[in-house]
């Protein structure tokens, strides 16, 4: 299937240019928020929103930004957007914001965001920059969601808080794998995804 040229910034980050499994960016938050499915989904939406808006704003401002304080301007824009997302979550999704706690604030330090601003938004007009933001946000997000799916299923026996592993299995001696809840298993799960991905895409 041939992808139209204009949609490449949107499509590429899903596989060939994936920020997590190809560029190995944003790993820290992928470990922290993937113990359960719900925070992983909220994190995905938050990062996508911050990345898309930051890309558009920086792209619109790109001809005026003084090069000497380029990085600082990007940081201020990203920090402002992250604070807004944090406040909105506290107002409309309080339980999730308690679960995500500091990790929303740490979106500021997510390498994907500064990376896209530097590499893409500064050289492209707002519309491609917007597509690039959405694409990278979701490309980051699907990895998070896949990792969270396995960690919640095997670690807690639930998905989105609903019991999936039936009670009779527990009665026959099945135990949730407590190790899945802890951060190291997120790394191992990400590594498995990278393994599958590389063996299917030999050219990477």
């Amino acid at each position: 299937m041939k992808v139209p040229q204009s949609l490449i910034p949107l499509i590429n980050p899903f596989s060939k240019d994936n920020p997590v499994i190809v560029q190995i960016l944003g790993i820290c938050s992928a470990l922290a928020v993937t113990a359960k499915l719900e925070p992983a989904v909220v994190m995905t939406i938050s990062v996508t929103a911050v990345l898309a808006f930051a890309n558009v704003i920086i792209s619109a401002m790109r001809k005026t930004i003084p090069t000497a304080i380029r990085i600082i301007v990007q940081l201020v824009v990203v920090a402002a957007l992250v604070v807004i997302v944090d406040q909105v979550l506290k107002a409309y999704a309080y339980d999730v914001s308690v679960q995500l706690s500091v990790f929303i604030g740490l979106i500021i330090t997510n390498c994907i965001i500064m990376g896209r601003l530097e590499a893409f938004a500064l050289n492209n007009s707002p519309w491609p920059a917007f597509l690039d933001g959405i694409g990278n946000g979701l490309g980051y997000g699907w990895i998070l969601i896949v990792v969270a799916f396995f960690r919640e299923l095997l670690g807690s026996g639930t998905l989105w808080g609903y019991q999936i592993i039936p009670q009779w299995l527990y009665e026959h001696g099945y135990q949730n794998n407590g190790m899945m809840i802890l951060p190291p298993m997120a790394l191992i799960t990400v590594a498995c995804i990278i393994w599958v991905h590389r063996s299917r895409n030999k050219d990477i």
Binding site: I69, I72, V88
Partner: protein, 243 residues
Amino acid sequence: MINRQSNIYTVIYAALLVIVVGVTLSLVYQALRPSQVENMANDTRRQILAAARIYPTADKPVNVLYDEHVRDSFIVNSSGKRINDDTNPFDVNIGEQVKHPESERLLPVFVCSTENGTKYILPVYGAGLWGPIWGYVAFDDNGDTIYGAYFAHQGETPGLGAEIEKREFSSQFDGKNVFNAQGDFTSVLVVKAGREPKDGTPYVNAVSGGTVTSTGVQNMLHNSLEPYTSFLKSLSHSDTETR
């Protein structure tokens, strides 16, 4: 064409950017503040009700439930007397109060009517392994027997210390007495499963693998409930008088 590299341009640009961002953030904060405060209050209400084993459902949100069940709330001092000032018991910062000497503490009490009679809910606050732990303990109107308990934590280890927030742990406290036969305050001990205190003090089983957090719960209960001794005793007295 303005010179984008000049110092003056850079300084003015930075100043304008900061002003714009600052104004935007304060507007967002102002707009969202009321619903954030409401969310936090509802979270506290949910925890208070959980101690009395009342849980919100889809058709009964927590604020409706709270108004329905919590009939009265007040503050007492360590001699069990009510303090009449304007402080709302709901707004008392328990984490701040436990730092004061017992005689100076503000001790909030929430009176909750349930299908099993009137319960007195007292807040507790202490330290776990990684951060603060807190909770609410509901007492029967004899001022001695625990009706229910709710514990929460900020960042205890998942699967180990964090288990204190589960009902499997907190339900062990139901029906335990905090005074012994001589009327001395003994609190409830949290001991390793399979052991028991020699002097017959009521105890519950600790979370296995969560020793520090479990000990934290034991200390929290003792430290936070002891100042209520006079108040709890006054409950049982007024009870016998009316009989």
